[in-house]
Symmetry: C2
Subunit: 219 residues, 2 copies
DNA sequence: ATTTTATTTTAAGCTTACTTAAAAATATTT
DNA sequence: AAATATTTTTAAGTAAGCTTAAAATAAAAT
């Protein structure tokens, strides 16, 4: 399948899995930076290939075959991120940018080589789970959004769900990374702000950030 | 530039540099597996972009700009081959196959990271020189074809210039690889065959092989 | 419930990268 | 030198993946 098709399928998968908005052509188009008309066209074409179900004006739904393809691409994306992050001195934003291209030019054979070399990791450097070669995610995710945490409790950062450079730069600057410990010192419900303590520093985060930072409570 | 354009430019570069046949659309078409008509079309298009000079019925010649582009792609190709060969247990044929795709989705930034990680190597696993980030090949190649060697002398294999799986499998089986030592025991000029000795084994190679295996004399 | 706004779809058109078939030019053989 | 074969070019056409503009439908606001 072409890069265009793969990115389209992946965008549907991710929108369905994580984003609040409904999986209609317009929202996918927005993510991919193409016109609504192009997205509708593509949806019809992929329906004819049994990768998704399309009914006029309804949400797009991946078929079993479409989901498998999405997970295969996600696997390659996250394996590349893991490899680049391990070998080279690259930021989370940079590895994502390169992986976005490399994912489409990677044989299953090479993906398995990368995976084996890394010791078949279950998570990428963002904390996102890496599907296995059968397209299965075997890990269970119990993490919650930072916005849902309680003041006074401590947490481990488990996931930075973004691909925005500014966000990653901010995180890197303040030590907000996968595996690091933080303490929630205040939840300002009305203002949708969360105050945390990390490395003896106090930072105040708005909901744009607290909704994409995931954590696990320390017991 | 697109993958099609990059492969076209690279094919011209390689044909010019190594292959005996003249650099006309038909020969490039043959290499790329496209029709002569498609090659002529592409040649005209690239001429309009100042990547090559095109005159009806004449040979295609890369401009300075076109050569730079070719060397940039060759660099990425050979860096990928070097990385994959080092990290994973992959054959010369396999690394070439993957590099053929990855080369088109690699930023200069990433290429430099790969190069630095490998210690800025000057040769890839086939013995081909790796251009630097300015598109320059600084090494001098004094190697000769195995077909041009003399009986009774010893040589080091410096280059396996091919991308054919059968050839590589044969080489791997008999220890014919970059850096290994061989002795030429007989040159059968009339029959265009060369007999060599390697690892206490004697093998007889025809010109298909002796023309793409390059060696350096041991003094 | 009606009007207004937003989204989705259709329609027409563009570029890239190919194809096959026929015409033109070049290269080879006799 | 002429005939033949090969190669290159032109011409016409296709599929993928886009675009913009207009029409149809759905969602939101009044
Ligand atoms: Mn990513
Ligand atoms: Mn991508
Ligand atoms: Mn190669
Ligand atoms: Mn290639």
């Amino acid at each position: 399948m072409s890069t265009a098709v793969e990115n389209f399928i992946k965008a549907i998968y991710k929108n369905d899995k994580h984003d609040g908005n409904d999986t209609k052509p317009g929202n996918i188009a927005k993510k991919l930076g193409i016109s609504n008309a192009a997205a509708t066209d593509m949806a019809k074409k992929l329906a004819s290939k049994d990768l998704l179900n399309y009914e006029k004006y309804q949400e797009l739904r991946l078929t079993e075959k479409g989901s498998k393809m999405a997970l295969n691409i996600v696997r390659k994306h996250r394996l590349w991120e893991s490899l680049l992050f391990k070998l080279f001195d690259m930021s989370l934003h940079e590895i994502h940018r390169e992986a976005e291209l490399l994912e489409h030019q990677t044989s299953d054979f090479l993906a398995n080589k990368i995976s084996a070399y890394l010791g078949n990791p279950k998570f990428d450097p963002h904390g996102d789970p890496i599907p296995n070669e059968h397209g299965e995610i075997t890990t269970v995710d119990n993490s919650i959004q930072l916005s849902q945490t309680q003041a006074g409790k401590s947490y481990i950062i488990s996931r930075l769900m973004s691909d925005d450079k500014e966000f990653f730069d901010f995180c890197a600057l303040h030590g907000l990374k996968f595996g690091n410990r933080i303490m929630v010192t205040n939840q300002f419900q009305n203002n949708k702000m969360t105050q945390i303590s990390i490395n003896y520093n106090t930072i105040l985060l708005n909901e744009d950030f607290t909704n994409i930072i995931y954590v696990n409570e320390i017991n």
